[in-house]
Symmetry: C2
Subunit: 463 residues, 2 copies
């Protein structure tokens, strides 16, 4: 008969007993198919209750250490397969996590300055949602996002972009990267894609990582050209016609129609139009997106709240042409929406109560001032004579051409050593990086006004 | 000289002028390469300011309708490519959005009852985060999620699951479906996958939609078998060993070691262990997950806060073995984390301040009571003699075997017509659906106590 001392037992008695028996099984003290004592006799022998033993046996059974034969009793399972060493084996390891460098001044960052996020209103709207929408918050969101948010986005697009969109064409997701993944599934992973060169580096990373066949198309001064699109042999073109990153090019109307005509030239051809910073075009009326002048259902429009609110709120959306929306609902409705209901409803209210419009107007003014301030400071600095600002008149960054003989990489490296992060335009070329030498990107969405003078001085001393 | 009447002008003057000129260009009234009046003479002629004209011209230039020649003036662009009809073309359309059926009683739902979500604490923690963590909230999250949340999850796993995990092994994402997508990229899309039959239907949908080569492996009473794994020829097995959905099977220890031994039998073999409802195993000590007894870095562990909090908060995580964590950081660090900082920090605080533990304990008690209540009601109902409850002793659902000659599909259909949603176990078989006839799933996570008696009566009358 098994006997255990319960003097040292910590925690529930049954758990202690379970561990004792399990240890004896693992150590071989109790052999395969050995009969365990009946609950009654075991209880009497050890002075514990039958319930305790029942619980311990049940746990051993559910983990497979013990089996039971009806009307016969409890037996030790055959554990031949069990590698005795694995249980307590430890793995030596060393995880190499990429380190975030910390900079005194980061001209490449698209972070939002915490002072500029509308915390008090966001908090208030969010609290209202949690108090008043408990039922909705617990209801599973449709794949495309909750209707209240999609209606609010449709309204916003109407007033801000002059776009007429059915809320059912809008698909909400946790970031544009996630939505790219959905598009690949929707249009076909086997298709050939083409992206702009220079362009958004992450896009190439995503296509590479997903083993998508893609190529690069060079731009001229008006953006991507039809010749390059044709040359690529691709069916899906991923472009940024309204304020190209990083060059700042706005594709003129004539080129837009050329590109649409290209898309119309093949049944499987589509354009993914990324309109990431449309809200912050500073001068003039924002240009109507390709999506709005596309009469043939060839354009998927993408936008995000990363620029208008913060990149740390992961909400983006895409607008599908009608036949693709139908294909999406038919084939991909099993997916869950990736944005929490809490934030979907908060954003919906934030938009429909007019706060987004107010916030964007405030930020437009702020960014215009930051832009002017920065250009003014540069012109008056010692760097002023050694550079030319390439003004593209919109967005949250401009380009600066430095008068230097050093390589872009050398300049980046020297400045990094001084705690300044700046990215060259040449970094955004996927091939032929001899182009656009000495041209650098200056983001001002999170400009530290106290450090900019020192930064400009360092740049001057470096080039 | 162009002359426009400004009497009817609404909104900014420059916008009106821009529209007038654009219309004349599009209608052909102004021909390609036609010179536009100088700003000065235009202004004098129309009695408006030069700035207004400058703004209108700038907008026309940025949209490509007009070009400028230095020291010469402004000219209409050649718009041969522009299909005149497209601008105002409308598309007739009809988007078919899948309709959500509404039921009187839904025994298939895994929704959380709004009364059970800890709204007041969640709101308080969320508000605290927004007041006190402005700087952190605006800082871009690492790809794997913010460290505070991953540390909190590691602590939680230690106390709840006895798991020892480095926070850097934890990758946070907006739902397990999203994380599956990352795993496909990490392990290789070209690999062959195998999933359990019966099993989680969405998993098959996801693999199909992503064009992944996968097959099904039948279960015996102890879960997936090594024979089936071998037969599948797959390298990656996606399994649910701790409380299989929908059968409720808990894989015993001996089988666990067999499955681990299978994984060790090939270099590229891995197990994805889905532990979706581990917190709610009702009786006994939860079984240690495969991940904890895996000494050879073969198991990816997945879990979610869908069950412990709500499926409408989209936060899940996976734990990677060390060498896969390193591969992840090397090759996939360019991805943004898909969960908003606001919810990451709220959840981190919610866990570290002990609220999750309290909530889980409260819910365990609640679900145990619901389970007992429901079993009691069933036994005492008229259905009691016509069914057998298959108790798997854990989780948020059990199975019920109905004494009937009707097909599962007929029963589902008849009940659907009466406003009752119930799913048969056979629905979760991917092939060979003759198995497990008359067995149905009863979820009690969102049980409507007022409707259950009526529902049971209807089931009785239907079978």
């Amino acid at each position: 008969m098994l006997t255990y001392s319960f003097d040292k037992a910590k925690g529930p008695m049954y758990l202690y007993l379970y561990k004792c028996i399990k240890n004896d099984i693992l150590s071989g003290k109790l052999g395969p198919n050995e009969k365990l004592p009946s609950k009654r006799s075991f209880a009497q022998n050890n002075g514990i209750s039958i319930i305790t033993i029942q619980n311990a046996y049940d746990q051993l059974i559910s983990e497979g250490y013990v089996y039971t034969l009806p009307k016969k009793g409890y037996y030790v399972a055959a554990l031949d397969m069990m590698p005795g060493t694995a249980v307590d084996a430890k793995v030596d390891y060393d995880i190499k996590v990429p380190k975030e460098d910390v900079y005194e001044c980061d001209l490449s960052s698209n972070r939002v300055n915490p002072d500029n996020f509308p915390f008090s209103i966001w908090t208030r709207v969010s609290r209202d949602v949690m108090s008043n929408m408990k039922e909705e918050l617990m209801q599973i969101s449709p794949t495309a996002g909750v209707m209240e948010l999609r209606e609010a986005i449709a309204e916003h697009l109407k007033s801000f972009r002059g776009m007429l969109v059915d809320p059912n064409q809008i698909i909400v997701g946790s970031g544009t990267e996630y939505l790219y993944g959905l598009i690949m599934q929707l249009l076909g992973r086997e298709k050939k894609y083409v992206i702009e060169n220079p362009g958004y580096k992450k896009l190439a990373d995503i296509y590479k990582q997903n083993k998508i066949d893609f190529s690069y198309a060079a731009l001229d001064d008006n953006g991507i050209t039809v010749e390059e699109l044709e040359k690529s042999g691709a069916e899906i073109a991923h472009i940024c016609p309204n304020h190209h990153f990083p060059t700042g090019i706005t594709m003129p109307a004539s080129r837009r129609y050329e590109v649409l005509a290209w898309a119309n030239g093949g049944r499987g051809r589509y354009i993914i139009e990324d309109d990431y910073d449309s809200e912050f075009r500073v001068a003039g009326k924002p240009i109507p997106p390709l999506f709005s002048i596309d009469a043939c259902e060839k354009v998927i429009y993408m936008n995000t709240f990363s620029k208008s609110l913060s990149p740390t709120i992961r909400i983006s959306y895409m607008i599908l042409p009608v036949h693709l929306a139908n294909r999406f609902y038919e084939t991909m409705s099993f997916y869950s929406c990736t944005v929490s209901n809490f934030e979907q409803y908060t954003l919906a209210r934030f938009i429909s109560q007019g706060y987004l419009e107010k916030h964007i107007n405030r930020m437009r003014l702020y960014y215009t001032k930051q832009r002017q301030f920065l250009m003014h400071i540069i012109e008056r600095s010692a760097l002023g004579d050694k550079c030319r600002i390439l003004e593209n008149d919109s967005g949250l960054h401009f380009l600066i051409l430095l008068d230097t003989d050093k390589t872009d990489a050398d300049i980046e490296r020297s400045l990094r050593d001084k705690g300044i992060k700046i990215k060259a335009l040449s970094d955004y070329y996927f091939a032929d990086s001899t182009k656009s030498k000495h041209c650098f990107i200056v983001n001002y969405s999170n400009l530290d006004e106290n450090r900019i003078k020192g930064t400009l001085k360092e740049i001057k001393n470096t080039i």
